[in-house]
Symmetry: C2
Subunit: 455 residues, 2 copies
């Protein structure tokens, strides 16, 4: 069944006798494990790129396909991954230290079992200035999100648009509060409190800054809100995964409220802030009984490289280097967003995160396809994002300063062309949406959760 | 809170103002992230080593503490990790290729999101000669084990002693079938079938070869048994994690029965066979609806190194090298077990795995402590293994030929000494056990599951 020449391993490649699927612009391009590829000749046909991306998305649910998947289908095409929401300067600091691991130590890391989550929590806790008994270290924040939501059969209250893993993991009904573009997608806490009164949710999720729009809730307002709803919601999840990008000062957190508000669960991902998505590392600060339950379920959930990284965080030299990388990146983000606002034919929404949500004047897929095919720039098409009206939103992540310039130049080029899509097509999209309205567009609509058969 | 001089981070180290806990023989020994340590002066006091190991076990539940944890408390002490059940020759083959990853590719692996589990399944499936729709790729086999057992509120039927993660994950009652030392811990399939009739379990677990004894069920007998109980148990889990060590020929599997027996779930861990426990990689072959449900719950569950390894498995050059490493190791295991049987004062049980269960003539903790303190050899004390009577069992893993000689020499030395433990103490242990009998010692006893608060 194995097709030696092609690593995309799509259905067509796996037909008996077939060597290459030919479904992708570069299917069959030899590629070795060291990642050396014969790069695709750019420009390639943007429509073919759009089709390839659509096929890849089928593997990834409501998320973007990973860069490794794209590389298998479109090798060498992506030069700037502006879909990806992480600090590249922090990645570089980590890589310098990862490459310096002594061969014997690396061998031991790969060959042997890592430590259990509880043991790693004791290493990470001092760095986060939290009690180890309140800390669960996870195989990425998604491990925590799914566990919290899939165990709760009560109502989930969440604002949309937002990170889809929360409502897709929900075992019970989902009530959504719609965020509006004309408000800059800001959460109205008074309205959210009324929704708590009305729907008695078992779980409330607040992501600040939020994804895909980057809007943040001011720290003091959030603290006051959490105190006001204390005891009225069983699980109050505050996701701070993008907080490190919002300020050059020390990022704020509500993790220190967990002792006094035992229903509070503060989730964070180190993938974005520290640029280590490949290592899978996230955490939750929550009540000791929740931590104990999570640890019981998470046998050897962390890999050796994630454990190594937790030790690295304790090194004063790395702490200084990381803080420098973080501040440098925050300044770059500000420059980048300022540049984006100079583009014509777009609306850029205010952001406190390391990306900007933009509304463009043509279907997002056209922009995404042309950017990737002609400029090697990969951005997020948000047409599938629940709670975003229309198919014209893209999310563009800040990278390093040089890459950011390429992204802006690519966008300026693509958006300077006449709009191909006829008004008629736009109207047909609107008609289709009117016939099958996204339930998230009705304020606080009751949406049945996605249900899959259980093993 | 952080104590720069000491990385063990135990409770004593975290007392305000303390720098070193002094609770471990080498607490406070400076150690950098490259793993360079000032090794402990051996011999150290075996009783102190036993106490340190006992403290570490508190972190690890019913499992052995990881080598990284031991290194943090007892740096430089372990020279041969004969607790660890993996093929060292396979590890070496992987390491050669891991070190050859190009810097750019390594950077991309660490910084970016890996592919989703379903995409990685399509890469791994051809290597396993299974349909990708039947394959779930996991963050270690434990991810699968916990998900299968924690979702099932019905009865679990399992033989003991065995791998504790199965019964510890059970959400419902556990019925155990006791394996007897005088039978070489072999599973009596006729008796197991009667237990299925009697207890109507929702889940049946069969581990072959079994851990900690290494006894295997003959392939043809297992296939006939699975057909006989078809449709009578909702989840029939067959764990083949040690099958690669049982023969120099192609290892047998029942994975090809999953299409015709949809209740069958075949679990495997690549940690042991391929020596990559630090990467966290396991899989299950099961019905497509189960696979879909698992994939829904497992967002970005695999790290970049695990994904890289699945691609490596498809490389013909690596396949040849792995098979050579596997056959060499199988021959070494046979030599090692033959050597163990020449020791006096022990019983070595027949094994088809890469370890041997031994009954020694004194408390296991004494043997384990002396071996580690005086010979740098770390073996598994099985005193806590449910279903094993008494505190005199150790499990000794085969490593490479040279290390195996050290293990045998160490055991020969330690076991040649007079027994320190007085008969009176042995009797007190027996009295304590009689007062609080292990429920697993009653044939097919109904045992309440371990329950922890749920988040």
């Amino acid at each position: 069944m194995f097709t030696p020449g092609c690593l995309c391993q799509c259905k067509m490649c796996r037909i008996g006798g077939a060597r290459y699927c030919q479904a992708h612009p570069a299917c069959g391009v030899p590629r070795d494990l060291a990642g050396r590829t014969a790069p695709v000749q750019v420009p390639v046909d943007p429509r073919q790129v759009v089709r390839s991306l659509a096929a890849l998305r089928a593997d990834s649910g409501s998320h973007s396909p990973g860069i490794a998947q794209i590389e298998r289908c479109l090798p060498g095409l992506v030069r700037v991954d502006a879909c990806f929401l992480a600090n590249p300067y922090a990645s570089a600091e980590v890589m310098t230290r990862l490459r310096a691991i002594a061969p014997d130590e690396l061998h031991r890391m790969v060959a042997h079992y890592p430590s259990q989550s509880g043991s790693v929590a004791r290493v990470l806790a001092p760095h986060l200035a939290v009690d180890p008994d309140l800390l669960f270290v996870a195989n990425g924040a998604c491990e925590i999100i799914h566990a919290l939501l899939s165990r709760s059969s009560g109502t989930l209250l969440i604002s949309v648009p937002t990170f889809s893993a929360y409502y897709e993991s929900a075992a019970g009904p989902v009530v959504t509060q719609r965020l509006e573009p004309h408000d800059g997608f800001r959460v109205d806490l008074a309205e959210l409190e009324r929704a708590v009164e009305r729907h008695h949710p078992q779980t409330l999720v607040i992501i600040t800054p939020n994804n895909p729009d980057g809007a943040a809730i001011a720290g003091a307002q959030l603290v006051a809100f959490l105190h006001r709803i204390a005891g009225r919601v069983e699980q109050v999840i505050v996701d701070e995964s993008f907080s490190h990008f919002s300020t050059t000062e020390t990022p704020s957190t509500v993790a220190d409220l967990v002792r006094s508000l035992p229903n509070l669960i503060v989730v964070n991902s180190l993938s974005k802030s520290h640029g280590i998505a490949g290592l899978r590392l996230g955490y939750a600060v929550m009540s000791p009984d929740r931590v104990a339950s999570f640890r019981h379920a998470a046998l050897w959930n962390l890999n050796a490289f994630a454990e190594w990284f937790c030790l690295l965080l304790g090194q004063p030299g790395f702490q200084v280097a990381y803080e420098r990388a973080r501040r440098r990146y925050v300044l770059d983000i500000r420059d980048f967003v300022a540049e984006l606002t100079t583009l014509t034919a777009v609306t850029v929404f205010p952001t406190s995160a390391n990306f900007a949500l933009m509304e463009v004047d043509r279907p997002a897929s056209e922009v995404v396809g042309a950017l990737l095919a002609e400029h090697g720039v990969y951005v997020r098409d948000c047409a599938d994002k629940r709670g975003l009206r229309g198919d014209r939103y893209i999310r563009v992540a800040a990278r390093g300063a040089e890459d950011n310039r390429r992204v802006v130049a690519g966008l300026r080029d693509v958006l300077s062309r006449p709009v191909r899509c006829s008004p008629a097509r736009t109207k047909s999209v609107e008609r289709r949406r009117a016939a099958h309205p996204d339930p998230a567009h009705a304020d606080s609509a009751l949406v049945p959760p996605l249900r899959l058969p259980r093993a």
